[in-house]
Amino acid sequence: MIRRALVVALLIAVAVPLLLAMSQLPPHGSPDTPPNTHVSPYYLEHGAEEGGAENIVTAVILNYRGFDTEGEVTVIFTSMAAVLAVLMLAKPDRAPRVAPTPELPVSVVVRFIVRVLAPFIAMFAIYVILNGHVTPGGGFQGGTILGALVIALSLVLSREDADALLPRKPEHLLQAAAPIAFFLVGMAGLLYWGEYLYFPRDEAQRWIGVLMLTIIEIGIGVGGACVLIRIFRAMRTE
């Protein structure tokens, strides 16, 4: 009873300062707050011609905040390595304490629907990746859809067919596709314009900027998909 009261008191002690701080925040979307009076209008006015992307989110993520995103994709890759390291710590001689439930046969309905929808999902994922600079979406979103598609397919296909979807050998390279694509594009900027991760700004070289954005988007998409598939496989077979 005393313990319960202590927990409630602690929760209130944490909640009250947080709620007080929240009440001091400017209203959501207010045009008079500092973030909305300096940086945002600039991005909105110049993003389309400077950033090489009509979708302002992509222009900010890949162009204005390119360094942040490069760090983020490296974090995703590193976290996959950490997850795999934890999953592979389990020694083969240490048998699981609970017997895993036997694999049930997949229902005919699920198998049929996944197989029929698969090409359309794949096309949608590729569309989202390649159109990231025009429409909402991009590498992260399309890559996740692609990864989810392969996971869904490997639930309904036989083990050999599922493994053939992403062979073991190129998998290791493809998992690192996002940092590699960022590094290559960044180095291209360093060698050609003398600035790491430089995107050309004038109208004549616009297509080069779009090409660089597309390379990064494809890298992020392929890398993200492979990371998700790898974690799924490690959890399933371990």
Partner: protein, 80 residues
Amino acid sequence: MSTIFDITLILLLIACSVAVVRLKDLLAATVVFSTYSLTMCLLWLHRGAPDVAMTEAAVGAGITTVLFLIAISRTTGRER
């Protein structure tokens, strides 16, 4: 109208999160959690963030659910 829609979604979110904590059956909790993600996805879309909505639908409702299901299939599936 728009505010009513938002409030409905937020109430659904609160109901889902309470249910996830209270449910003893982990399979049911996973399904409710994926409902939470889909509601969140609608909310993102309604607040004008289609990028985040797509990520939420694919990661939150799709992939995390699959990973949770695999984890449950390797345990007893009940919370003690």
